[in-house]
Structures are given as structure tokens and as C-alpha cells.
Amino acid sequence: MSALALSLPSRARYPDRALRWVLTALAGGILALIVFFFIRLISEANPAFSHFGVFDFVFRNDWDVSRSVYHAAPLVVGTLITSGIALVIGVPIAVAAALFLTELCPRRLRSPLTVMLELLAAVPSVVYGLWGFLVLAPKLKGAEHWFGSTFSFLPFVGPDVPGPNYFIAGLILAIMILPIVSAISREVVATVPGEHKEAALALGATRWETIRMAVLPYARPGITGGAMLGLGRAIGETIAVTLVIGNAPQIGKTIFSQGYTLAAVIANEFGEAANNQLHRASLIAAGLVLFVLTLLVNVLARWFVVRGTRGRVTKA
């Protein structure tokens, strides 16, 4: 191809070079942008890190605006608890739905059900927050209270249930990660070779045994990756969580305690922190911690997905 292009008169080659140059510059611009992004965040967060120390900032449990003390442990813990709850509730349902839709569902129902499941992804975060705050939290309060007092002997369960709490936030997050986890699971399950399933069926396995022995082992790394991508989403989710977490900078004793997350604290306190150097730097540092956390999770997730599909995914 290049031989042909070279044989063209140089007048015709000129726009070619320009186009190539422009497109390469755009691609390089993305790299520059991300590097700049990272440097800016670090330099703006630096006052907080140098004031409190990086280790103390992340691991000490003391966030108090009135005393100008900012240690992010309550936020980190809140972020991990809510996204943990989201995974525990959301992933089994998402994977089960993916298995049903790819392996068991009657052909006619498959596409409408899939579209409906994907519609969950179209609902904006703030609408989940609105619904969670005004409908879900009040309606579930009785059930949570009953659960909390009946099973108070379990660890991390207690009868004291305020309206907004970790559990509600986790539940909303579970709903929000359903579409992505189930979409990736469906994609991965669809790559299981038909021969494997047919072999299992031919040997006399029931449909469930086929799923358990032929489909799931093959799809497991990909499903794990999908779940971790969902985790990345849950960790970074802001507005919905801000509305239902209670915004209390403490490490709650039970899953029904009020708490705070990294993303929520930024959304709530940044407006008032604009003129307070240390507070602002601390919130940007919280943003940086959040970014690093999602980055780690996403890198792991991609590794799992790539390993799980080994390039076999047929692009949807």
C-alpha cells in the first residue's frame, strides 16, 4: 500500500501527511491530558499530604471540619463498606440473570428482557438518589429495624437504624452496577464453546449441571473481571450515595450506621472549602485516593477480563 501512496504526486501526499500528523497529535494529546491531570491533582493535594502525612491521611480515623483535622479513614472505610454491600447483593443477581438470559431464556423473551436490564444503566445517578432518598429509605426502614433487632447477635448488625445508612447506599449501588456486571457476564458466557455444553448434555448432565460444570468454570475469570468493573463503578459513584449515606464522618458500628464515602465528602464539602486552603487540599487528596482506588480495581478487572476471554470476545 505504501508503495502506491509513494508513487502519487507529492501534491496529493501533502494532505495525507497533515491528516496523519493531526490524528497522531490528538492521540498524544490524550496521554498529555492524563499526565497533566495526575500532576495537577497531586500538586493540589500536596498541602494536605505534607500537613498530615500520606499514611496518616489515609489510615487515621479523624475527619473533623470544625477542628480542621482531615484524616480520610472514615471515608475510605465507608467507600469500601458500601461497595462491598453492592457487590454481595448485586453480583449474584447480575450473574444469575446473565446465565438465565444466555442459557435458559426462551428466545422470544431474550431481547426484551435484555433491553430492560440495560435500561437500568440509562437512569441518571441523581434520579437513583432521589428515589432512594424519598422512597426506598423510608419504605425499608421498618424492615431494616426488624432485621437489625432480630439478628443483632450477628456481627455488624444492630437495632439502631437511622434513615440514611450504609445498607441503603449499598443497595442503591447494587442496582446501579447490575447492568454492567450482567452485560459483561453475558458477553463472557456467550464465548463458552458450544461443544463444551453439548458434551456435558450428551453425557447426561441436566441443564443446571451443564451450567455449573461446563459454563461457569470457563466463564469464571471473565465474570470476576465484570464484578470488579462493577466495583470500580460503585467506588466512584457520587451523587446517589451522597443522598442516602447520612454524611457522618465516622466509622459506623453496624451496616445500618450512618457514614460517609470519599466521593460524597467531595460533593458535599467542596463548596464550603473553596476558601480554606487545607480543607480544599484535603478534599482533593480524598479525590486522589479515590482515583487511585478505582484505578487499582479497574486494572485488576481488565486483567481478569482479558485472561478470561483470551481475546475470544466477539464484539457486541
Binding site: 440473570a97 441518571p124 457520587t238 460533593a267 481488565r302
Partner: protein
């Protein structure tokens, strides 16, 4: 896998029962997964439809504590203006980067680094993009300080960029090489091949990806909180603060006044309808064309 090596015994009643139960459970989980969607749509229609009125759609929020709380005109127009600007920024750049990756970069080291960074961008939480725009555009000396609509739009475009790039790359890669080779063989220079063959062939897919990115950006609140902020009056001046539907909802939710909470439901319904229309349009266009 070793279990597969030996033939199964004839299917016992226990195994049959287990099969039935597990299949039922999987079906039930699918049902459970759809419950939230049904509930959210139900409440949106029930509470939102009652709040919607011509007055609400055509008046600005008053911001006064008593009397008429006003409507959401400025929020609707602000969202449309900012998303339009964000699209104008993100789509050309995103498609351009995708073109580079498919037509020039291919498997080169530089291209895979770019791909990796685009993936990193996809994972950045939207609030962190908001922070980034705040510290680089809102408080910097390079531009006039303060909140502005165009800064919100830039924050949204950062969110859209990786979505557009990834989806465009997939679609462009689907354009058959035989088309490119045919055009090159006829003596067309590379840029004409891209402009007259590759882009038109991939156009419906590119539009679908862009529409999905727009739908995502339209519902985002977090990047706008500290970039375009909340304001009551309608403005088309991108240099000033600009209202938007998500921020308006976020601000109205916690209000003690039932009229304002009602307005939040109405705004949410309007926003969701807008996003669903965009999503449906994207789906229709995607179905109309199969590049491969």
C-alpha cells in the same frame, strides 16, 4: 472438568429436582433484577407526571422561600446547551483518536499506550473530573475565574471522550479492509479513503456511540457541581454560571417544601424521558446498520 470424564448415571429424582430448583432460581433472579427498574419508572410517573405542567417547563426557578417556586426552564436549556458544547468537543476528538488507533496506530506500542490511557479515563470517577476542572479552569489565572457553563461542558466532555473513543474504535475496526484496499487500488490517497470510504461506512455506528455518550453526560451531576454550579435564571452565555437539570434535582431533593420536592420529581421525569429518547434513537440507528 474431571467429572465430565465419566458418564453420568441415569438422571435421578434428586438431580431432576435440583435442576428444576436452580433453573427457577436463575429465572427468579432475573425477575428480581427487573424490579428496581419497574419501581423507579412507576414512582417517576406517579410523582413526576403530577408535577409536570406547562408553567413548570416554561418558567425559571424563583429561588424564593415562599410562594411560587418556579419551574425548570433554565435547567433544561442549560443542560441542552452544555451537553451540545461537550458533544462538539468530545465527538471530533474521540473519533479522531479512534481513527488514529484503527488507521495508523494499529498494534504499535504508542497505540496500545493510548488505548490503555483511554481505559484509565473510563474508570475515573466523574466527581474527580469535576475536581480537575475546578483546579485547572475555575481557579486558574489563565481564564477568568469563577464558575461558567463552558467549564461544565469541558468537564462533561472529559467523561464522554473515552466512551466515544472506545465505541468508535470498535465500529471503525469493523469496516472491511477490502473496502480500504479497493479505494487505495483506485489511486485514492489515504485521507480520501478515510473521508469518503471509512467514515461514511462507519457513520451509523459512530452516531450510535456518540448518542450513548450524550445520554450518559446529560444525566451527570457530579462534574457540574463545582464547574457550572447552580443558578436560577436562564442564560445562553457560556461564560456565566449555568443551571442544569441534574444539579437542580440534587438541590431540590432535600428541600422541606413539598412543592420543591415535587418539582424534583418532575425534573427527574423530564430528564429520564430525554435520556431514554436518546438511548432509543441510538438503538434504532445501531439496528439499521450492521457494518460487517
Amino acid at each position: 472438568m474431571s467429572a465430565l470424564a465419566t458418564p453420568f448415571a441415569p438422571i435421578s429424582a434428586g438431580r431432576k429436582r435440583k435442576d428444576k430448583v436452580m433453573r427457577g432460581l436463575l429465572a427468579a433472579a432475573t425477575g428480581v433484577a427487573l424490579v428496581p427498574l419497574v419501581l423507579i419508572l412507576y414512582y417517576l410517573l406517579k410523582k413526576g407526571a403530577g408535577a409536570l405542567s406547562w408553567h413548570m417547563l416554561t418558567s425559571d426557578p424563583t429561588g424564593s422561600f415562599l410562594g411560587d417556586p418556579g419551574g425548570i426552564k433554565s435547567a433544561i436549556l442549560g443542560t441542552v446547551t452544555m451537553v451540545a458544547l461537550a458533544t462538539a468537543i468530545a465527538v471530533p476528538i474521540g473519533v479522531g483518536v479512534a481513527l488514529y488507533l484503527v488507521e495508523y496506530g494499529k498494534e504499535s506500542r504508542f497505540a496500545s499506550v493510548v488505548r490503555y490511557f483511554v481505559d484509565v479515563m473510563t474508570g475515573v470517577p466523574s466527581i474527580v473530573f469535576g475536581l480537575f476542572i475546578y483546579i485547572t479552569l475555575v481557579t486558574s489565572d489563565l481564564f477568568s475565574k469563577g464558575y461558567a457553563g463552558w467549564k461544565g461542558a469541558v468537564a462533561l466532555s472529559l467523561l464522554m471522550l473515552p466512551v466515544v473513543t472506545r465505541s468508535s474504535e470498535v465500529v471503525l475496526a469493523l469496516v472491511p479492509d477490502s473496502l480500504r484496499e479497493a479505494a487505495l487500488a483506485l489511486g485514492a490517497p489515504r485521507w480520501r479513503v478515510i473521508a469518503r470510504v471509512v467514515l461514511p461506512t462507519a457513520a451509523p455506528g459512530l452516531i450510535t456511540g456518540s448518542l450513548l455518550a450524550i445520554a450518559r453526560a446529560a444525566g451527570e451531576t457530579a462534574p457540574l457541581l463545582f464547574t457550572s454550579a447552580l443558578v436560577f435564571g436562564t442564560s445562553f452565555d457560556l461564560g456565566h454560571q449555568m443551571n442544569s437539570m441534574p444539579v437542580q434535582i440534587f438541590n431540590d431533593v432535600g428541600s422541606a417544601r413539598s412543592e420543591i420536592v415535587q418539582r424534583a420529581w418532575g425534573t427527574a421525569l423530564t430528564l429520564v424521558v430525554m435520556i431514554l429518547l436518546l438511548t432509543m434513537a441510538a438503538r434504532l440507528i445501531a439496528r439499521r446498520s450492521r457494518v460487517s
